[in-house]
Symmetry: C2
Subunit: 253 residues, 2 copies
Amino acid sequence: MRDLSELLALAEAYEQDLPPAALRLTPPSADALAGWIDHTLLKPEATAEQVKTLCAEAKEHGFATVCINPVYVPLAAGLLADSDVGVCSVISFPLGAHSPDFKAAETRFVIHAGAAEVDMVINIGALKGGDFSLAFEDVEAVVETAHAEGALVKVILENALLTRREKIIACLLCREAGADFVKTSTGFSTSGATMEDVDLMRRVVGPEMGVKAAGGIRHWEDAKRMILAGANRLGASASLTILSEAGQQDVNR
Amino acid sequence: MRDLSELLALAEAYEQDLPPAALRLTPPSADALAGWIDHTLLKPEATAEQVKTLCAEAKEHGFATVCINPVYVPLAAGLLADSDVGVCSVISFPLGAHSPDFKAAETRFVIHAGAAEVDMVINIGALKGGDFSLAFEDVEAVVETAHAEGALVKVILENALLTRREKIIACLLCREAGADFVKTSTGFSTSGATMEDVDLMRRVVGPEMGVKAAGGIRHWEDAKRMILAGANRLGASASLTILSEAGQQDVNR
């Protein structure tokens, strides 16, 4: 990492005055929308049958990935091997309270089992406690492991638990560590994605990185708002509803 | 595992008619109460400073363990090395959706870092989907790993997500796998410990195993009810309140 004090000075400047949004996204047509969505099933009671259904839906509609818990990665990877749908899994989810070594080991484990993308939870306690070096090491360990295997990394900040300053610092740490995306929420905390957070994240990380909005996105209206705010990937369990609403709107146009 | 069909037949019999409670517990005096409690801090935003405070409180009052996330095990183990307070950590927490191999690896990791007890989450999706062999393998993998290192295993069933039949089967699987305790809840689902569940768990596992009640235990009245129902260990974040209320009652007696 470059000098931490430099990064904190930049965070302080951004706290006063966010950089302009250098990327303006337009919501896609209903036909292209599925490619923006991680079709998600992370609830602990999800069964193998439900994961099979999720994978079949993802193939039919062309979702970007299925986003599932680690135990189901081999099943989904087998079912999706002959398709363009990727397998996305989650690391240290949903609490983020593991060491960098352990997060790297979990990353290796799910990638070897067939995941092409991993959504890791940042060390939230380290951010809250001001141990930014540890928060950075954590992201760096996962990014190095995943990139060596050709997989993408999204870093979940869990904005519901962070101050504005902590969100800005987290985005800068993720960019510095070479993460591919920052992601708003796990969907398991007190609140999910907000337009304000997505806008802040997009401004701080700039146009080159990805911003994934997740948590509480249940309708096409929610999805459009998140994309207009700067998200280029969405995580949703209600993906079929969102697609159907988008299709309906195209018909009515 | 003995024949699964034998175990399912026993579960069916218990569903009709639970065995009598063969162990009657009496709530301890205020002085002895701390030894029944895992002093718990599992929220994702917990900082190192808060864990230090937790450990100091545990030493002062003589709690059974501190129950913390994996990232803080080395810190707590260092702080508690010269005390009788154990370090308890959590495995596949709070979703339980990892493979047996991975849960065993996480168990080894936290025990080598200093944990003497591990609270693992059972494969809830496997139970809901009727894949009882997988649910069993999972518990067995963690029990074998932990026992080889001299550590205890508590298996969290997350009762809020289970039917009565699934709770009974889960208890029988845990007993069969040699687990030390069954535990009601993670504290991160839709509800926590209930007297009815603790009673069911105690009846099914019998007098030899432990039953840990956790989730929503905030007062001495809650704690007493759980012990009378059959719990011999409690998990609580509000442990200091509970101790203080118990002490007050002794004074007023």
